[in-house]
Amino acid sequence: MSPKTLYDKIWDAHVAHEGDDGTCLLYIDRHLVHEVTSPQAFEGLRMAGRTVHAPDKTIAVPDHNVPTTLDRAKGIENEESRIQVEALDKNAKDFGIHYYPVSDIRQGIVHIVGPEQGWTLPGMTVVCGDSHTATHGAFGALAHGIGTSEVEHVLATQTLIQKKSKNMKVEITGKLRPGVTAKDITLSVIGKTGTAGGTGYVIEYCGEAIRDLSMEGRMTVCNMAIEGGARAGLIAPDEKTYEYVMGRPHAPKGAQWEAALAWWKTLYSDPDAHWDKVVTIKGEDIAPVVTWGTSPEDVLPITASVPAPEDFTGGKVEAAKRSLEYMGLQPGTPLNQIKIDTVFIGSCTNGRIEDLRAAAAILKGKKIKDGLRAMVVPGSGLVRAQAEEEGLAQIFIDAGFEWRLAGCSMCLAMNPDQLSPGERCAATSNRNFEGRQGRGGRTHLMSPAMAAAAAVTGHLTDVRELM
């Protein structure tokens, strides 16, 4: 048998039909659904008189539109947002799929809820009408975003029409230096390969620095595989994975657990498997980083300065010019002198318990800079509850942060959590696109620890100075 990558193995285990031209029907083990990209798909089913093929494998939760303020039991003020969430309430009920409504403590960002509830397991195929589905790759699951037509297709058939991607290996060797986190790894990879560097590939992240990461950190790394252009990001499961999964509500139990574990242990890339592309980065070369522009590839160590358009070539020259103008930045300005107005800690990239711990460790006994707006939005109701139990919530509140309820919030600003024009934000989310966090808003992406450090000083800051 020829050697296979982890991706090859998961792919092969899910092909339900293969056409002569290599077009496959890939069987989908878990379909996650949220309110923004699903209403048209459910409507399509109704119009065609179709049902959900496997409601037991379909899990829905509202996250993008939900208010994160403490008074949200009052309901959603914005009519369109309210209608979208109500549509999901109705669709979940009508089609009999698993559902965590806004009022449920288990509600949260779909990519945090899935793993938390044990829906996401190694070796599975997981899809969702959301590009950050890549997150679930941290479990060694083949997970990627799909459009609404494909959501409808999966609802109706539990399969997806797919052609296989190529294999790319991203190896992070050795140890990380103090102050460097999973977010710095994933941003640094994108900084090196570019936002289209992974196009056409499924990435497997490996190497000692990846093995050393917790499951939370691995989810952060895989979450942003899409920002590198890849269809999906994967990390082979190991003891940390099994330990995280064991005992979760929807994880297998007893004899089924043993059977599952036996299969999961075969899920790794064979030593001489073929890679179409390999990127290697030394862990010790990764610094705490921030973004300066309007593309996630605009990454630099916090110790660097704002670049000039002429530092680039090709289409990037114009793009950099446009980014600097949008961001209101002058070339040559040291990054750690850029003053901020707002701090946002949360999102499917960095809204898990470990992220809140990392930020709280920096904030403990400190106050945020006067005049700053700062908020923490836990990734799920359960993350929020745990953070309260661990005393993290009090640290945030004492520092001057708003302590919010779970949702996507200011990562994409579909709810009222938005930036105003010109407002500059240190954000732990995943996209710094123009207008992403609100029209005219300026986003700098970074790790939770770096965002906490910026909250204390009021400007982008090297977290190592506060450690």
Partner: protein, 201 residues
């Protein structure tokens, strides 16, 4: 889905790399539960100022490009979110074809589900067509999907690659779900295998 066979239309030049889906259709327009009506908000924040007035410099606001059916753009077009609202907005505006050196994966797939043809060409050929598009309304570009060719307004012909299955679906306006349901037996047999081999799924 409307069939796509041949198209002769005005091409609008958008010489930017990394045009993301937040640019194509900002999030405030994702609150709809319909697929239609998004054309007016296509490229909203580039097209209108804070008060909702048209920004005259933006390409689709120029008189010669208001009826554009083709968009010529830079590398990595459609990067970012999976929102199918991006192709819905393009289609609702009247765009049936995008020409660029590369696309983000999800956006690329989403186009085919909506009767939009995303064509990949080498940068130098995109540069030629970008120049052609800059001539305005008199420069019509012709696309022939069957022959897989693009003809510039000067008569220069470029050929392009497209996946044969995607081409077939686009040319015949086929519904993917209908096609897949023809293979229901394969899905059923896969599911019985799954139930015995990986019952925890």
């Amino acid at each position: 889905m409307d069939k796509f066979t041949k198209l002769s239309g005005i091409a609008a030049p958008l010489p930017l790399i990394n045009v993301d889906t937040d640019m194509i259709i900002p999030k405030q327009f994702l609150k709809t539960i319909k697929r239609s009506g998004l054309g007016v908000n296509l490229f909203d924040e580039m097209r209108y100022d804070g008060e909702g007035n048209e920004i005259p410099d933006f390409v689709l606001n120029k008189p010669q490009y208001r009826n554009a059916e083709i968009l010529v753009a830079g590398d990595n077009f459609g990067c970012g979110s999976s929102r199918e609202h991006a192709p819905w907005a393009l289609l609702d505006f009247g765009i049936r074809c995008v020409i660029a050196p590369s696309y983000a994966d999800i956006f690329y797939n989403n186009c085919f589900k909506n009767g939009i043809l995303p064509i990949v060409l080498p940068q130098e050929q995109v540069d030629i067509l970008m120049k052609d598009a800059e001539k305005g309304a008199n420069a019509r570009i012709e696309i022939d999907l069957e022959a897989q060719t693009i003809t510039s307004s000067d008569g220069e012909v470029f050929s392009f690659d497209v996946d044969s299955f995607k081409k077939h679906c686009l040319m015949n306006g086929l519904d993917d779900i209908g096609l897949t349901l023809e293979k229901a037996a394969s899905i059923k047999s896969f599911e019985s295998k799954l139930a015995s081999e990986r019952p925890w799924v």
